[in-house]
Symmetry: C2
Subunit: 125 residues, 2 copies
């Protein structure tokens, strides 16, 4: 999975979608974490509706990408695992959302030059 | 990959993301077709920036899902292949966009009941 094109500003906006973030479960985790400074593992698991093992695995992927930070601690005598987005993770999420909006709206404000026989290539509704 | 949960209205909105549409290339194709009544194969290929074979394969997937219709014809003496979204395809795209917006904004307007020690589970920025 190439990620080298992610910083490109040219071409179709799908090139700027982040494959690490795009997966539905990871997108849900990142969106959940984006709304808070940090959140407890079990809280994220319950919001996103995944098992402990799925969340662990996806958090590991996000950690490897440098997008999520994991911190273990205690609340009283109970162990807690805290998850938070890194600065890079917040930036990547923002970039992904901009790209996503552009993909979805790409044809609504096209800046492409249609060829001479454009009427035969694309027809408006 | 189970798709049986896609019509569910309850639970986390990621369950309502359509795996057929979510892939970056297919999302780009569907978004492109959503803006027109129909579009020529080569036009979509150039907009989405994929090869003929990638577009063929992904269009086949979308056709199998009942989301895209393929029609062959001529402009003058030149053969043309037209692509268009079916009614089901437009509906699926709309549903997907609503789900996507909900996933991304899910935590901004949470309707979840936080437990008593909520302050220890999630912290706002």
């Amino acid at each position: 999975m190439s990620t080298g094109h992610r910083t490109s500003e040219s071409g179709h906006p799908r090139h700027r979608l982040d494959p690490v973030i795009h997966s539905p479960v990871r997108l849900s985790i990142v969106a959940c974490l984006a709304a808070a400074e940090r959140a407890e593992f079990g809280f994220v698991r319950d919001i996103v509706e995944v098992s402990d093992s799925v969340l662990s695995k996806q958090v590991s992927n996000l950690e490897e990408a440098g997008y999520v930070k994991v911190k273990k601690g205690y609340v009283g005598k109970y162990p807690r695992t805290w998850l938070s987005l890194t600065v890079a993770g917040r930036r990547a999420f923002d970039t992904h959302l901009v790209a996503l909006a552009a993909v979805v709206g790409a044809m609504h404000t096209p800046d492409v030059a249609l060829p001479a026989d454009n009427a035969s290539l694309v027809e408006g509704p």
